[in-house]
């Protein structure tokens, strides 16, 4: 009945959705922000630890939300670990395009491999009202890096 939905809900997404990685509070975080999706009640809190060069040494989150938003947050924390802040932001930009259009023509070079890991979420572009579920984590990351403290995704 829902076979064609396997594009959206790929096994990796269901898995990350059920068992999100890095799902914990970071006590000694250098950066943090809250993300809100008022329409659906999705909500997350994100913490970052920065390394000596300012790179993202650790990332963790807590929150509630649908499978898409939990999986996206989980995959994000895994992907940005070890990246510079600029790299992480660039990935966020690219991810937005991926989520909205389903492809990311410019996703090559240094970040190609990481974007590959996020590719399972690209199916969301066919579901306009769900795109914001996938992007909430990245909005929150941006807010944390820019010190905005709060992000909403509508």
């Amino acid at each position: 009945m829902f076979d064609d939905l396997r594009d959206l809900y790929q096994e990796v997404i269901l898995d990350h959705g059920r068992k999100p990685r890095n799902f914990r509070r970071l006590e000694d975080a250098d950066r943090s922000a809250r993300g809100d999706n008022p329409m659906c009640g999705d909500r997350m809190e994100l913490w970052l630890k920065l390394g000596p060069e300012g790179e993202i040494a650790d990332a963790a989150f807590l929150g509630r939300g649908c499978a898409i938003s939990m999986a996206s947050a989980s995959l994000m924390t895994e992907t940005v670990k070890g990246k510079t802040q600029a790299q992480a932001k660039e990935m966020g930009e690219k991810f937005r395009i991926l989520a909205m259009t389903g492809t990311c023509p410019e996703c090559n070079g240094a970040i190609a491999e990481d974007m590959e890991r996020l590719a399972p979420l690209s199916g969301v572009h066919e579901f306009p009202s769900r795109v914001k579920c996938a992007t909430l984590a990245w909005h929150t990351l941006k807010a944390a890096l820019e010190g905005t403290k709060e992000a909403t995704s509508e």
Binding site: L5, G65, A67, I68
Partner: protein
Amino acid sequence: MNVTLKPAPASLDVARIRRDFPILSQTVRGRPLVFLDSGASAQKPRAVIEAMVRCMETAYANVHRGAYHLSEVATESYEAARAAAARFLNAADPREIVFTRNSTEAINLVAHSWGRGVMKPGQAVLVSEMEHHANLVPWQMLRDDGRGIELRVCRVNDEGELDLEDLAVKLADGKVGLVAVTHMSNVLGTVTPVERIVALAHAHGAKVLLDGSQAAVHRRVDVQAIGCDFYCFTGHKLYGPTGIGVLWARLEHLERMPPFLGGGDMIASVTLERSEWAPPPAKFEAGTPPIVEAVGLHAAIDYVTAVGMPAIEAHERALVDHAMRRLSEVEGLTLLGRAQDRGGVFSFTLDNAHPHDLSTLLDRAGIAVRAGRHCAEPLHTRFGLEGGTCRASFGLYTTCEEIDVLAEALVKAREFFA
């Protein structure tokens, strides 16, 4: 007018009714549309669409302003819609009907004109935990306006019913000036005991506003029998157009209330120094009103009246019974609200599926349900459901088969997320 009294039809011919709604023959992603979001907004029968087209193609002009033929015709249609709304609610006088944009604006009008113009510092407004934001936020804004108006909240019990004891307690000190509660919850389906609420409130000197956005669609409403002071509903949920709502209020109240919006048509005279207000309802209808929408609403009222509110109610009771049975059989499903007196609105969660994921899945099966907190966040918080629920809500065109399709899809969805 045919005045022969016929026995109300006991049941309604759903197949025939469905043919009146062009959109229902649609398919969604290859499957027949199963539209179970009528509580958010209902679909429109051909009669409504055609009335609006006819108005725009043959009888349109601005109202109340012209002494020429088309304007007279348009004014008559507009005022006929007001009379129809008055009959629909059994109001004593068409002048008690104010056309607004929607229920939300109707309640804001009362919060401004009654709340800021008539209520006194030290008085309180009493709402309930199950209110739609439309009947909560305007009162919060009134409370925060620095006029010394308090806001009290009546509890909802675990069955999803209004806690009448709590209501009585909160009325006891006589400070409540206005009780503003829903006539039917858009989340729980609960129909509130409005006559008892009115009796309690009046006994303590409080006026009563009822939010009939949901109730008026499902039940025959008689504002005089209920005895309330304000009642509102919204056109688009009653199979009518968007852009129009109805506020009913006792004439004596409307006469006391200062106007809300200023502009054309609501004044008796204007000089640069001051303006005098027109009598109600004009006083509350500033500017060009929703003319075509009034004509559409009139057609919608005629439509449900012709089908018969008793028949609609009976049909819905059958749907509710069927849904209760079928949804209870779905493993892992939890229903929110189990009130005795209820209408065709069911909110639920499915154990391992988030409401948003669930509604995306159901959409693939052609089933339109709503996910979220349905503009009733405090109620979801009250039940510990910050993540929201899925809601299926029925219209007069809903069939038991559609409920079956939903129930089967829910079973499959549970497997999908297992």
